[in-house]
Each structure stands twice: as C-alpha cells, then as structure tokens.
Subunit: 309 residues, 2 copies
Amino acid sequence: MSKELIFGHQNPDTDAIDAAKAYAYLQTKLGYDVEAVALGELNDETKFVLDYFDEPAPRVISAAKPEVDSVMLVDHNEFQQSVSDIKDVTVTHVVDHHKVGNFETEKPLYMREEPLGCTSTIIYKLFKENNVEVPAKVAGLMLSAIISDTLLLQSPTTTETDRQAVAALAKIANVDYKEYGIKMLKAGTNVDGRSADELVDEDAKSFTMGGKSVRIDQINVVDLQDILKRTDEIKAAMEKASQANGFDLYLVLVTNVLDSNSALIVTGEPKAAAEKAFNGKLDANDVMNLPGVVSRKKQVVPPLTEAME
Amino acid sequence: MSKELIFGHQNPDTDAIDAAKAYAYLQTKLGYDVEAVALGELNDETKFVLDYFDEPAPRVISAAKPEVDSVMLVDHNEFQQSVSDIKDVTVTHVVDHHKVGNFETEKPLYMREEPLGCTSTIIYKLFKENNVEVPAKVAGLMLSAIISDTLLLQSPTTTETDRQAVAALAKIANVDYKEYGIKMLKAGTNVDGRSADELVDEDAKSFTMGGKSVRIDQINVVDLQDILKRTDEIKAAMEKASQANGFDLYLVLVTNVLDSNSALIVTGEPKAAAEKAFNGKLDANDVMNLPGVVSRKKQVVPPLTEAME
C-alpha cells in the first residue's frame, strides 16, 4: 500500500488539524501508511492545543499529487475547500460532519458523514469500533477539537454523542475539560496581542441604512472585559476609522462565545437609532449589554436597519 | 420525528430491495418511523428471495414528496439512479457501496459508503455496531443480497468482510449458503420460462465487422445445460432472427455466472471467423466451450473483430 496524505480543509481550524492527526494515528494502527498534513498555517487556538499536548504541528502542503496518488479527507468533502489539485488524486477515505456537495469519486470509497458537532467525535467512534486504544495525547487533540467546534458544548450543533465523547476523552487526556476549554478558547480569541485598529476592522462590514454609512464589526472573546477594559482605546480607533472612511455610525459587537452574550460599543450618529433598535440605553461609555445576541446577520442588522429607516 | 421512506436504486436488484428492508428493520429498532419501498418491480431473483423467507414485497413508488419530506437511500447515491423527485426531499441517511457523484445535500447527514461487495454487508455491520439482534428472516435477506452482488463470493469485488458476513448470516438464517445461493441465482437466471426468441434477443447487440452484420447475444445461467439442452431451438431462433433482420453471423454467449465459464453457439457465416477468433473448433451442434470468458465487451468483440477483418 503506497503512502497517503490526510488533511482537513483550507484555513484550518482546530478540528481540521486535530482530526487529521487523530485519524492518521488510527489509520496507522490499522495498517495504512499515512501522514497528517495541513492546508494552511495554524490559528492561535490550534497552536495553543498542540503546544499544550506537546504535539508537533503538521507540515503545510499546497498540492498533493507531487507526493502521493491518493488522500484521505477529514472535516470537509467539498473540493473547493480541499487541496488545490484534489481532482488529480484519488480520495480513498472521508470522515466529516458537513453537508455534502461538489464531491465525486471514480471508485467506491470509505466515506463516513455524521450530523454531529465535530469530526473528531466521529473519529473517536472509529477508535472504539476498531478497538484501538486512544493515547492520552490523541484524546487531548480530539477533546480540543470538540470543544472548539461546539464552543464548550454550548453551540446548537452539539449532540449527546459529542457530550459523551468529551466526557470520555477528558478522562483519558486527564484534563478538566471546562477549565482547559476556557483556556483554549481564550487562546483562540486572544485580543491582548492585537491593536485597537486591527480589532475594530478585522471582521467589519459596511452597510447603508437610511441613507447613512454604517459600519458593524464583531469581536469574539471569552470574557467581554478583554475588550471593555479597552473601551476608550477601541472608541478612538472607531472614530479614527470613521473619519478616514466616512462612516456615519460605527458599531462594535463584542461577543462572549462561551455564554452567547454580547456588549455593543457605538460611536458616531445617530446613536439613538442603536438604542431604539435594541430597546436599551447606552451608558456613559457608549456601551450597551445585548444578552443573547450572537449573530450580526440575524440579530443586529435587521433591527438597526428598521430603526434607521 | 416524521415518517421517512427507505429505498434502493431504480430497476431494483436483490441488494436494493433487501438492504432497504433490512435497514428499515434496524432504523425502526433505533426509533425512526420508516418504511422500505421500491423504485420498480422486483426481478425473478428477488421474488424468489422474498418468497423463500416469507417476506412481503415492498410497495413500488414513483415519487417521494407526495408522502414524505425526507428519505434514506440504500445501495445508491447518484440522484439519476434515485426517485424521480429526489431533489424535492431531504436525504437524511445513505448506506451504499458505489462510487459517489451527482449527490448533494443542504445539511449534514448520515452517510456511510464502504468499498465492500454489497450494501447489505455494511448494514450487517450497522446491526453489530448498534447492538441490534438480527432476526433470522432479516439475516436471510441480507445473505441473499450478498450472494447476489458477489455471485456467491466469486466476483472480484468480494472482500473478506463480505465472506465473514455470509458465514455469520447463513448461521442466523439457518441455511446452507452455497446450496441456497445456487437455487437463488438459478431463480434469477431462470431461462426455462422464456422462449428461444426472447432469449436470443433480450441482451443482443449488433456490430459491423469486416463488412458483415454481426449479432452477439449473452445469456446468464447457473448451468450451461439450461440453454445447451435447447440448442436446436435456440439455433432456429437465431436463424429466424437473422433472416428477418439480415444478420450474417449470430453468436449467443451462454455464461455460467457461478464458475465464469461460457459456451458459444454460432449460426450464419463466416463460422470460421468465430473458430479463428477463439482458437477452437465448433462441434457438430455449432457449439464451442470458452473457459474463462465472461465479458462480451472485453473478451468476445475484440478477437472476433480481428478475425473478421
């Protein structure tokens, strides 16, 4: 059997990396000659995970065919999310938890899709089905991926199977999953090392509402205070960006990914529209709590549009 | 949970029907509200199987949406092989052993593709993974499907997993799988009830070779004598069809699906070309043995074309 590469999607997140590494461990035990690789640089959360469990980062590849004839995909199936030359190699295995599309093979393959919260949950099932013992480090990787994908089992995609896997894997990895998970998510939403200018712009989108130019940014954190303690600095950056780009109203939605609550910081005018939209009052620092709000697209844009028009 | 339909591909074979029925049994045990249905009339082999195990034939449907919002596919995934309105319903589960293509979903689903000889082998694995006991009748259905798809474990698609499943299922169903399997395959290749005119035409294809009109038919059997005992009648039908349609040379390849051997019956001229093509001699009845020949496309057409030109 010739060597195969295993990888997750482009712009890899923790599941894309950890599922590849865990599946490579399992498949090696089952007799395959495989190597886990990555289709891009690791994010801060994944770096934290590999560092914590003292695991090497996978090699980054940009094409598969120069090295191998066949590959195994984890955490994705759609070709546009895969390696650039995916059509030049044979896909022999897929383990994934997404919708299926833009995927085809010339021959029968092993393909395991399940509607669970995380690919690593499926891979944990595969260890059990094949009676392969999970080493503590590999358990730590899979645990991290499930925590990442389900936001510590809070996301609506979380299933009972994910919960059971987290309990079992935390035991094997010998970590307190909540304490560890918060540290890990915090590492992935590390705002301390980023400037206010970066933070207010990185995920910002522009809208036109009631004839005004409105800018709305979202920053994910595990503690709202990570941003709110820098409110003055953030507001200054928002005003600077508004002057430079002609934004009338600037909203920064700071979202706590752990408890699904947000705080809103507002500069520019009409501020009253923001208050009307969310039926609340901005405090002296131009900040308002928005309990239960997590989606810019579904929970911020529609009421603000209505209030502005 | 609302009701879902489970079905195999159009022009159903034994696996398409039996896998649907077995999966419906399993999913019902797992709490789903499902019904196994068929996308076409049963063939003779499948009728024999259901009769043998005293199981009702599934209802034939031509569209799914009038009855349900979601469906489960077995033994196929490509939409063009599925129910006519497949794009109007949600596919929640797929269990299959074919190549994947022309398949997509809007949401994550359960999809289990494995490169095994038969879908029913995968379904037997699912029974075991879910710790659901296989009733004798359901074992008989799955056993029949594996025998059908693998031609009694002879086909090159057969895997060790299929062999193990056959051994285990035969025990549960309490049948001698070889003895039963030959009866079953024989029922599916029942030539006794068909006229010689039908037999020489049903799977016949026309070719032009060396300026002559050549007709080549193939008849699958489990015992070459089923046809060879009717050689005179078959030859008469071949000559009648040649006169009516202007065929110069008519070949009927009778293939034993159990041992991968064939016999060739030839009428018309030049008969010498058939002898030259297969490096043999026709006997007094214009019959020649062709050991190891099973493929018209790969083993008959090329040498005959060469001999004719």
